[in-house]
Symmetry: C2
Subunit: 389 residues, 2 copies
C-alpha cells in the first residue's frame, strides 16, 4: 500500500513516516520546510537536533531497510501535488502540510492571510487531486480539537442530532475556534465535508488534541529524532512546560490556567493516525474522529510537570501564571466525546506521569539547548495586539 | 456620515451608492472591475448597458449633485484598503467586493482557489483595517442565505439555543453551503464572528437571499443603470427566467424545481442594506440578519414568470426542466426566519408579479441583447464535473 505523507519533515510527519515504514507500508513524503524556516525566523530551533532531509532519508533507509521517496515542494501549488499523484498513485494521503501554529497566525495580518491561504488552498488542491486522479484515495486530514472551542455542552464527534422547534436533523456541530490558525482548520473541515457531498471522496478528518512528547517507540536512534519545539510560537503547552522545568525556568500557565484541552502523546497520536488508515471509513464516507487521550486543565499539567521534575531531580519547579496572551475562556465546561477511535481499537494510555518522565529525561540531555532558548519561551504574541501593516 | 462601498461597480453596489447619495450620505467607492472582466470571459455581458466607471461617476454627480470619490484597486491588497481608510476615515463600510458567482467558483480548481483566496483575504484585510484604523467603524458584510443550506429544521438568524444531553448553549447555527462560493461566505462569517470576539468590532453580517430586478426607485436615468446578468455563470434564477421569456427561449428550472430559496427585489435589498446602516448594531455587537422578502420554489418562480409574460405579451412562455448542474436537494424542508429586519422597519413587499412586470418591461427594450446572449444562458457549469489542472 502506497502512503503519502504531506508535511513529512514535521513533528508528527517524521514520526508517522517511521511508524508506517515499521508496519511495512511504502512511504512517500513531501515537504517545503516551512516550519524549519519559520522557527528560525523567531530565533528558535528544535531542541532535539534534527539533521537535514538528505541525512534523514539516508538514516531512514539504513534503519527501516526501505527508501522513503521524497518530493520537495509546496502543496499549495496544485501542479506539485498533481505530479506526485501521477508519479506514485497513492492509496492513502495524510495531509499534515499546513501552517500549524496558532500564535504565528496571530502575529499580524500578513501571517493571518498567509495561514488562511496556505492551509485552505492546500486542502482544496488535495481535494481536486484526489477527485481528478484517484477518487478512491483515503484522505486523512489533520484538524484540531480547537475547532470546537469550548461550548457549554458536550462536544460530539463532528455531527450531532439537533432538536429545534419540534423538528430534528443531524447537522455539523457548530465550530467556534480561537485563532486564525484554528479557524483555517474549521474552513478545511467544511470544505472537506462539501467535497465528500459532491464527489463521495473517502475522508477521515481528525480533530486532534494537543500533542506532547519527544518521540515514539520506533525512534531509538538519535539520527531519527523528530523535531521538538518549545518557543512561544511553535511549541505547545506541555512540551514547553517540561522544557521550562529542565531549563530551571518557571512553568508558565497562561492566565488562570483553568482552560481545559484534550491532550495525547506523540506515541498515541501516531497510533491513532495509523488506526485511521488501517480501519478506514466506508467508501464515500466523511468521518470525523476526536483524537486525544485525556483532557486536563492547564494547571493540572503545570503541576504534574513540576511534580515529576521534582521526583526526578530533587529540585522544585516554580509555577508562575502569566497574563494570558490569548482571548479565551479561562473557566468553562469541557466534555468532548472520544469514542470512535476507541471503538476502532485505540486504548488511551493515560500515562501522563510516565510520558513526562520520558520527556524530561530526554530533555535533560539537551538542557543547554533549553537554557539557550529561554528568551523565546515566554509569550509575546498577543491576540489583542495583532495588527496589520 | 462617510460611507464606503467596496464593490461599488457591481449589481448591488452601484444601486446602493445611488440610494446612499439620495439619502444624503457622503459616498465613497472602490472596485477592481473583476465582475466586468469575468463576465466578458464567459462570452456574456450585462443586458442593461452600463457605461465605464468614468462616465458613471460624471452622471452620478450630475444626477445626485454630489461626487462619489472612487478608488480603483483590489480589496485583497491590504495596502490599497489601508490607504482608503487613511484617506477617508469611513464611518460605515459595505463589503460587496467579493467574487459573487457560485457557478464561477465551480468551474474548476483555479476558480475555486481564486474565490477562496479573494473572498477570505478581502474580509480579513477589512477586519484588520477596521481594527487598526477605526475600531468604531460599522462593517456591513454581504453574506448569503445559501450559507445555511437546507436543513430539516427552521433556520434562525445566525445563532440558536441548543439543548444537548441535558445542557444548553447559544451557538452559531451550523452552516452547510452548496458551492465553493457559498462556503467562502461561511468562512467569512466565521472570521467576522471571531474578529468581533477578539476586538469587539461592530459588524452586520447579511445573509441575503437571491436578488432580482432591473433597478430601484432612484434609477430613472438609463445612464445610471446597474448591471443585469442573465448568463448561467453570472445571472441568477429569476432574472434569467425573465430574460429567457423575453428572448423567446424556454424558462429552465434546474432539476425538479422544488428547491426553495429566499428571494428579494433589488429595491428591497437596497432598502434592507440602508436599514442595516441606519439601525446599526450596538457597539461591539456581531449581528446576523436574514435578508429576503419571501421564499419560493424555483417552479413557482418559473410559472409566475411565464404567466406574467403571457399577460403582458399574449404569448406563452414554455417551461423546460433541465438536468440539474448542481449537487443539491430538490425536495426539502425550508423555513428560514426573517424577523430582525422587519423589527427594524423593513416591510417585505411581496410584490413578485409587479416586480416581474417591471423586469420584463425593462428587458423588452433590450430584447435583442437577450436574444444575442441565448447561448450563454443554458447551464454548462457542472458541480459534478468540476476539475483541476
Amino acid at each position: 500500500m502506497r502512503v503519502l505523507v504531506l508535511g513529512v519533515d514535521g513533528y508528527i510527519g517524521w514520526a508517522l513516516a517511521q511508524r508506517l515504514a515499521h508496519r511495512g507500508y511504502d512511504v512517500y513524503g513531501a515537504d517545503n520546510f516551512f516550519t524549519r524556516r519559520r522557527v528560525k525566523e523567531v530565533g528558535s530551533d528544535s531542541v532535539l537536533p534534527i539533521p537535514s532531509i538528505g541525512k534523514r532519508l539516508i538514516d531512514f533507509k539504513k534503519f527501516y531497510g526501505r527508501e522513503l521517496k521524497f518530493f520537495r515542494g509546496n502543496v499549495s501549488d496544485p501542479g506539485f501535488l498533481y505530479r506526485i499523484f501521477r508519479d506514485i498513485e497513492p492509496d492513502v494521503v495524510y495531509h499534515l502540510a499546513e501552517q500549524r501554529s496558532a500564535p504565528y497566525s496571530m502575529l499580524g495580518l500578513k501571517q493571518a492571510n498567509e495561514t488562511m491561504v496556505t492551509n485552505i488552498v492546500s486542502t482544496l488542491n488535495l481535494i481536486y487531486a484526489a477527485k481528478d486522479m484517484n477518487p478512491d484515495v483515503h484522505i486523512i486530514k489533520l484538524g484540531t480539537m480547537g475547532e470546537y472551542g469550548t461550548p457549554n455542552i458536550d462536544i460530539p464527534e463532528g455531527f450531532f442530532e439537533v432538536n429545534f422547534r419540534g423538528r430534528k436533523d443531524i447537522l455539523p456541530f457548530p465550530r467556534n475556534a480561537g485563532s486564525w490558525y484554528h479557524w483555517t482548520k474549521v474552513h478545511d473541515s467544511n470544505n472537506l465535508m462539501f467535497a465528500n457531498r459532491l464527489w463521495k471522496l473517502k475522508i477521515t478528518d481528525v480533530m486532534q488534541g494537543v500533542v506532547y512528547g519527544t518521540g515514539t517507540k520506533e525512534i531509538e536512534n538519535s539520527h531519527l529524532y523528530t523535531r521538538f519545539d518549545i518557543d512561544e510560537v511553535w511549541g505547545t503547552a506541555l512540551n514547553r512546560f517540561a522544557a521550562q522545568a529542565v531549563a530551571g525556568l518557571p512553568i508558565t500557565p497562561y492566565g488562570k490556567g483553568n482552560q481545559k484541552r484534550g491532550f495525547l502523546s506523540l506515541e498515541d497520536s501516531i497510533t491513532c493516525l495509523t488506526i485511521a488508515l488501517e480501519k478506514p471509513p466506508d467508501d464515500g464516507e466523511y468521518r470525523v474522529l476526536n483524537q486525544f487521550d485525556q483532557y486536563y486543565s492547564i494547571n493540572e499539567l503545570a503541576e504534574t510537570t513540576g511534580e515529576v521534575y521534582r521526583e526526578m531531580t530533587g529540585r522544585p519547579a516554580k509555577i508562575e501564571h502569566v497574563p494570558n496572551p490569548r482571548v479565551e475562556s479561562e473557566d468553562h465546561y469541557y466534555s468532548p466525546d472520544h469514542k470512535k477511535l476507541q471503538d476502532l481499537g485505540y486504548k488511551p494510555s493515560g500515562e501522563l506521569r510516565n510520558d513526562l518522565r520520558k520527556i524530561i529525561g530526554d530533555l535533560m540531555e539537551y538542557k543547554e539547548k533549553c537554557v539557550e532558548l529561554r528568551n523565546v519561551v515566554m509569550p509575546r504574541t498577543s491576540w489583542r495586539d495583532s495588527s496589520g501593516l
